[in-house]
């Protein structure tokens, strides 16, 4: 499998404490990569480093063989949503989609068409709603961020905790969207989640982070969920 993201000796230190230390990991093109771990395990930090949001204290992240901190080409094919810092809260959802679309070379027709395809997931009339993103509920805000990340038809999709704050129906729909996207478009997905059920259902490969280090890297099979539950049950004792 062709590698799309490669990490070498990646390290992040906060106040003298190493919060992430990944000697080597590769994510293949079209691979669905699930990242699990307890709070503070380093999941978000890992994604922030892949997205060049924070400076690494050591090591490299290569996206399509280019160092993300030196070359910004990755922005053209990467869709991401980590948290509300990715939303422009004084825009209406429709304006936000148009803005993101414009930056990615989509015209208004493309944007409208895509948003209409996502209608069931969004579950509200984007064009009719004249409310700003800041006035939406947490769940709806998250949906806006996820849809915007999907809209750019990314080759790499990075989502941090996409299922949290979503209602059960939306969680179900999101899983369907992600699985469908992965099968049809063969995009590389990096998804972190606390919900072991969701992540094992969507991802073909699961990596467990614990205290900043990779402690498990496994292909998803019918025993994966059980193995993960056993691992986290022990950590909780």
């Amino acid at each position: 499998m062709q590698t799309i993201i490669k990490v070498e000796n990646l390290k992040k230190i906060y106040n003298g404490r190493t919060v992430l230390n990944i000697p080597d990991i590769s994510i293949g093109k079209g691979e669905s990569f699930g990242l699990v771990g307890n709070n503070g395990a380093g999941k978000t930090t890992f994604f922030q480093l892949i997205l060049d949001l924070i400076r690494a204290d050591g090591g490299y992240v290569f996206s399509c063989e280019k160092d993300v901190s030196k070359n910004e080409r990755w922005k053209k094919y990467t869709g991401s949503y980590l948290d509300e810092g990715f939303l422009i809260d004084y825009l209406t959802p429709y304006e936000y989609f148009m803005f993101v679309g414009k930056l990615n070379g989509l015209n208004s027709g493309d944007v409208v068409q895509f948003v209409e395809r996502m209608h069931a997931f969004l579950n509200f009339e984007i064009k009719k709603e004249k409310i700003y993103i800041r006035e939406l509920s947490n769940g709806n805000r998250k949906k806006i961020g996820i849809v915007a990340a999907l809209m750019v038809e990314p080759e790499v999709l990075i989502l941090d905790e996409p299922f949290s704050n979503l209602d059960p129906t939306s969680q179900f729909q999101l899983k369907k969207i992600l699985k469908d996207l992965q099968q049809r478009k063969k995009i590389s997905m990096l998804i972190s989640s606390h919900d072991l059920n969701h992540v094992t259902e969507v991802c073909g490969r699961i990596v467990v982070l614990h205290e900043g280090e990779i402690v498990h890297d496994m292909e998803t099979n019918r025993n994966t969920l059980q193995e993960l539950e056993s691992f986290f049950a022990v950590k909780g004792d």
Partner: protein, 493 residues
């Protein structure tokens, strides 16, 4: 119970991020406040002497009495713009065994800590102790002061009541300013005199203390009205700062959507300016002050011969928008800065959009200042030269300096007396923005001549305009090298 509220308030202030992280700013503001208080006290102690000189032959107390109503108007207006609503995080208390009456009452008492409520003690108490007893009994002097204080209390509770009900819109500001101008004009042309009413009323108090009932009743009424209103509106939906807003955006600006990436970025920035309380207030309040700044100087003929001063005023007037908006050019977007970093936006394009957004309104606003030509063609020439300097040098400089401003701006809070997101850099930036051009202007004006100094300033500005792409590229490169630090600042502060 009140003890618990005070405990909460104390910790709210002491543990606020701003208080803990901005020690230098707090010291500067503290010194500034102290300076103002000393000056006010000075005026208070010598008020009698000052008023003696103001109107010869008229008793000082009479002069003061006739002006008091304007004092109340002035402080009311300042309160209107500056005074914040007494804030307390009420939401966590709503499910606890705390009655709404107590919360409401506490908020009323909390408002008493406003700076303006203490002003009468500094300004008028020395007068009532030092001067009034020479003409009236001690009781009369005391009642007179009590009335002044109670009127200030009325003003305090009235302003809170008004602010609780409505959001201040620019149109309201204009109406209030309009009323003030009309009242002054009526007084000036002897059509309707508020000062006579004021003089009679406060003179009446000095001879008959029963008149104190008026401010007593008004204070009591607005205190009760605030109490009633807050108690009635102690609900999450009423307390939320995120009020529903209607779409006010003007359709014709949507044309920017079809102007490529830069157009989209400018449109986004315009929406930012008009849809957030803080940026809106910045435009509504700061801009008129900067534009009208010339009226403080130009009417005085002596100033018209002072070329360096005129240059400074020109910099200020022609760069009003550029400076107020430009000094937070990146910080405005601090809440979604991660979006900017991960989006498919070329840094140079991003900066160019910001440059255009600084200079286009600056050019339009310059047209508004053209009527200053009334004070002489010289004013127009100086202002135009300073406009060139602002666009050519100060605008790219602000783009460069943006990388040093790493404090997150909370845009849903008002601008007045709000120092959140303001750091020492915002004070230091004044040096290169104003002092350096003034210094250059002074140097050539002093040693070579007025015309040459203007030509040099114009030449520097024009050079900046010609090489604006290179200057923007330089600012963008500097930003790129510092992006992690900026992002970290925006996330953590």
């Amino acid at each position: 119970m009140s003890g618990s509220f005070i405990y909460l308030q104390k910790h709210r202030i002491a543990r606020s991020v701003f208080w803990q992280k901005s020690l230098i700013i707090n010291i500067i503001l503290g010194l500034f406040l102290l300076l103002i208080l000393v000056e006010i006290m000075f005026v208070g102690f010598f008020l009698g002497k000052i008023l003696t000189k103001a109107e010869a032959g008229v008793p000082t107390w009479q002069v003061l009495n006739s002006g008091l109503i304007y004092y109340f108007f002035a402080t009311f207006m300042i309160r209107f713009f500056v005074q914040d609503l007494p804030a307390m995080e009420i939401t966590p208390l709503l499910h606890l065994p705390v009655t709404k009456s107590r919360i409401s009452l506490f908020l009323n008492y909390r408002s008493l800590l406003s700076f303006f409520n203490f002003l009468p003690f500094f300004l008028f108490l020395p007068f009532s102790i030092n001067y009034l007893p020479a003409y009236f009994s001690h009781l009369s002097a005391f009642v007179w002061f009590a009335a002044v204080f109670l009127f200030e209390m009325t003003s305090n509770f009235l302003i809170i009541r008004i602010k609780r009900k409505s959001i201040i819109k620019p149109s309201v500001v204009l109406i209030v300013l309009g009323i003030a101008v009309v009242l002054v004009l009526l007084e000036k042309y002897d059509i309707f005199s508020l000062s006579i009413i004021s003089s009679r009323y406060f003179g009446g108090i000095l001879s008959n203390p029963i008149f104190i009932l008026l401010p007593l009743v008004t204070t009591g009424f607005f205190f009760w009205e605030n109490f009633r209103y807050t108690k009635k509106h102690c609900y999450l939906s009423d307390l939320s700062r995120k009020k529903k807003q209607t779409e006010k955006f003007r359709g014709h600006l949507l044309i920017l959507e079809n102007q490529g990436e830069i157009g989209a970025l400018i449109l986004n920035e315009v929406r930012l300016l008009f849809r957030n309380k803080r940026s809106k207030q910045m435009v509504a309040f700061t801009l008129p002050i900067m534009l009208l700044y010339g009226l403080l100087f130009y009417p005085d003929l002596k100033n018209l011969n002072h070329n360096v001063l005129l240059g400074f005023v020109g910099l200020f007037i022609s760069g009003g928008f550029l400076i107020t908006y430009g000094q937070y050019i990146l910080a405005w977007e601090s809440s979604h800065f991660d979006f900017i970093l991960t989006s498919n936006i070329q840094t140079e394009q991003f900066f160019r959009a910001k440059y255009y957004l600084m200079i286009i309104p600056t050019l339009l606003l310059f047209l508004i200042t053209v009527p200053y030509v009334y004070f002489g063609i010289k004013i127009l020439i100086i202002n135009f030269v300073m406009l060139t300097f602002n666009i050519g040098i100060n605008a790219p400089f602000l783009l460069f300096a943006a990388s040093f401003n790493r404090k997150r701006m909370e845009l849903d809070r008002g601008q007045m007396m709000n120092y959140q997101g303001i750091g020492i850099n915002n004070f230091l930036i004044v040096i290169p923005l104003f002092f350096i051009p003034v210094l250059i202007n002074w140097f050539f004006n002093h040693f070579v001549g007025y015309r040459v100094s203007l030509l040099i300033m114009f030449g520097i500005g024009l050079t900046g305009i010609i090489f604006y792409r290179q200057l923007i590229r330089f600012a963008a490169l500097f930003y790129k090298n510092n992006r992690y630090k900026i992002a970290m600042g925006f996330r953590s502060s």
